[in-house]
């Protein structure tokens, strides 16, 4: 498989770093090469957090990219920053709950998911990140939903283990929302 670069960006506390780690674990457990690197600088202390995940079947050089293939943006500042940078014909997954503008570009495969609302329906607002990951996996099926869920099950911290079914549901809802939205647009 070709190298795929993913940037996940949002406010601190939205679970962007963990969402990236879940993808990284799933990549490793599906015999792919992977790097995960967080923002750790003063920008993180200013309240935004992002990570870069690179997945490939070949050894990975740079763990950082300027122009990712995929951006998962959890809030408006992240959309403002990454919309111009996503590769042409790349994938953009936007959190409709916190973003009140459409895209300026028309060359991206994209979806707006009301991730916070879906997470609240499930009963755990912190799962917006997993909803977004689910949506991304539909648009960019580098890993199967099942594979990512299996890795989450292996690596979820023990103190959160009881939330595993809700995590699974969040991913599935994000995946299904994206599927339905795109099928409707197509028809």
């Amino acid at each position: 498989m070709q190298e795929t670069s993913i940037i996940i960006s949002g406010f601190g506390g939205q679970g962007t770093l963990f969402a990236g780690q879940v993808l990284a674990y799933a990549a490793l457990e599906n015999n792919l090469e992977v790097t995960w690197i967080p923002s750790y600088g003063p920008e993180m202390r200013g309240g935004t957090a992002h990570c870069t995940v690179i997945i490939s079947s070949e050894p990975i050089g740079s763990p950082l990219v300027r122009r990712p293939d995929v951006a998962i943006v959890m809030n408006l500042p992240s959309l403002d920053k990454y919309e111009p940078l996503v590769q042409s014909h790349g994938v953009l997954v936007a959190n409709a709950s916190l973003i009140n503008r459409g895209l300026e570009r028309d060359d991206l495969k994209h979806i707006y998911i009301p991730a916070n609302e879906i997470a609240e329906e499930i009963g755990m607002s912190r799962l917006a990140n997993m909803v977004m990951v689910g949506g991304m996996l539909y648009l960019k099926p580098i890993l199967s939903l099942k594979a990512v869920q299996a890795s989450l099950e292996r690596h979820i911290p023990d103190r959160h283990r009881k939330t595993l079914p809700m995590n699974f549901e969040a991913m599935e809802r994000g995946y299904a929302f994206t599927q339905e939205a795109l099928v409707q647009t197509a028809s």
């Binding site: 780690q21 990284a24 674990y25 490793l28 090469e33 992977v34 790097t35 995960w36 690197i37 967080p38 750790y40 600088g41 003063p42 990975i60 050089g61 740079s62 763990p63 950082l64 990219v65 300027r66 122009r67």
Partner: protein
């Protein structure tokens, strides 16, 4: 044991433990803090020594004292912390006791910032502390390589009674990558014959870096120098990608070398015959292999995350045989692969001699880029 997804700093710390590190002394500083944090948990679990000292100056002197027992000991810090340790490092070198020092480099000079940098090249490679001594400097470029080279660092430190610096940057300390840890090595049952251990049933030994009589100091200097020449002969290490038929060579270490590897692969896709030469031992510098490369290629591009420090070592070896160009980012900025790809394209289509100083030409290009960012 199979591969796990490991965070740089934590993996480096565990690698040190498995290599037989029995004492860690340090003081927290970003972006190396997780190293110390991990040690604070693991070392007491294993009944080994961990001390969070009151300062870096104290920490390195604890390393110094503990090293005199012949046990494997270390510290880890980041740039300003390493600066504070320099006096102690020189004393350790002068006393000829082994120690491993990990520097997770960050932007400077001064307080600078906590972003990844390679700006400590001169300080690490050229000594940094006072006096005539020669540290071994290892510069791994992935979590796995760092694990492997931290083990090697302890072996080399013991073998040559030398300081071994392992230099990485904030990127490598913070990133997660699949890697495999080695098995736990058994601890040695006996101490080396120079170590101090209480002198029960034997004449006392003294370890010191003081040689009041200059002739005695000179003999020590000579011993250190001869040992260094042995190290230069035996311990050079480097990695290469696509060098076999390369007409152009990119040279970079650590993260810069790794980012350059992406650019080299992309340039190959475009048909540019370029390869990557990545020194792993920054000291001893891989001079012999670089001389061969200078006979093979038409042009060299040095890429660093500093103002061109290794560049000076490269030009000293290449001696004008082929043009040497430079591209660097400073201050804690990590270059992206597309920047280096652009440089490779430029270098491969440029037959002109480098006018004067490679740095001056680079500064002009860099100022355009920085102007575009502001």
């Amino acid at each position: 044991m199979s591969k796990q997804l490991l965070k740089g700093n934590e993996a480096f710390a565990e690698a040190a433990i498995r290599a037989g590190c029995e004492g860690f002394f340090g003081y927290p500083i970003t972006p190396s803090t997780e190293f110390l944090e991990y040690m604070s948990r693991r070392m007491p679990e294993l009944g080994r020594a961990f001390v969070q000292a009151e300062s870096e100056v104290a920490a390195i002197n604890m390393v110094y004292g503990a090293a005199c027992t012949g046990k494997r000991v270390m510290t880890a810090s980041s740039s300003p912390g390493i600066s504070l340790m320099m006096e102690g490092i020189s004393y350790i070198a002068g006393t000829e006791v082994p120690a491993v020092i990990v520097n997770v480099m960050r932007g400077g000079p001064g307080l600078g910032n906590i972003a990844p940098s390679q700006g400590d090249y001169y300080q690490m490679v050229k000594g940094g502390g006072h006096g005539d001594y020669f540290p071994i400097v290892l510069a791994p470029a992935s979590v796995q390589e760092a694990i492997d080279y931290i083990s090697l660092a302890f072996d080399l430190a013991d073998k040559y009674r030398s300081i071994v610096h392992v230099v990485v940057d904030g990127n490598m300390g913070q990133m997660m990558e699949p890697a495999e840890l080695p098995p736990m090595r058994p601890l040695p049952k006996t101490a080396p014959d120079w170590a101090v251990s209480g002198a029960k049933g034997r004449p006392p030994r003294a370890l010191s870096s003081i040689y009041i009589n200059p002739y005695d100091e000179e003999i020590t200097n000579l011993r250190l120098l001869k040992r260094w020449l042995e190290i230069e002969k035996n311990e050079v290490r480097y990695a290469e990608i696509e060098m076999e038929d390369a007409e152009y060579a990119v040279i970079g270490f650590g993260t810069a070398g790794r980012v350059a590897s992406s650019a080299v692969r992309a340039a190959r896709q475009e048909g540019i015959k370029v390869g990557l030469f990545r020194p792993i031992t920054l000291a001893p510098f891989p001079k012999q292999r670089l001389k061969e490369i200078a006979r093979q290629v038409k042009r060299i591009l040095v890429v660093e995350m500093n103002s061109g420090m290794m560049l000076d070592d490269v030009t000293a070896v290449v001696q004008g045989r082929v043009p040497v160009e430079f591209y660097g980012r400073m201050g804690g900025v990590t270059p992206f692969p597309d920047e280096i790809l652009g440089e490779i394209r430029r270098v491969a289509s440029n037959a002109a001699p480098v006018n004067g100083n490679a740095r001056e030409e680079w500064i002009q290009r860099l100022e355009t880029i920085i102007g575009g960012q502001a």
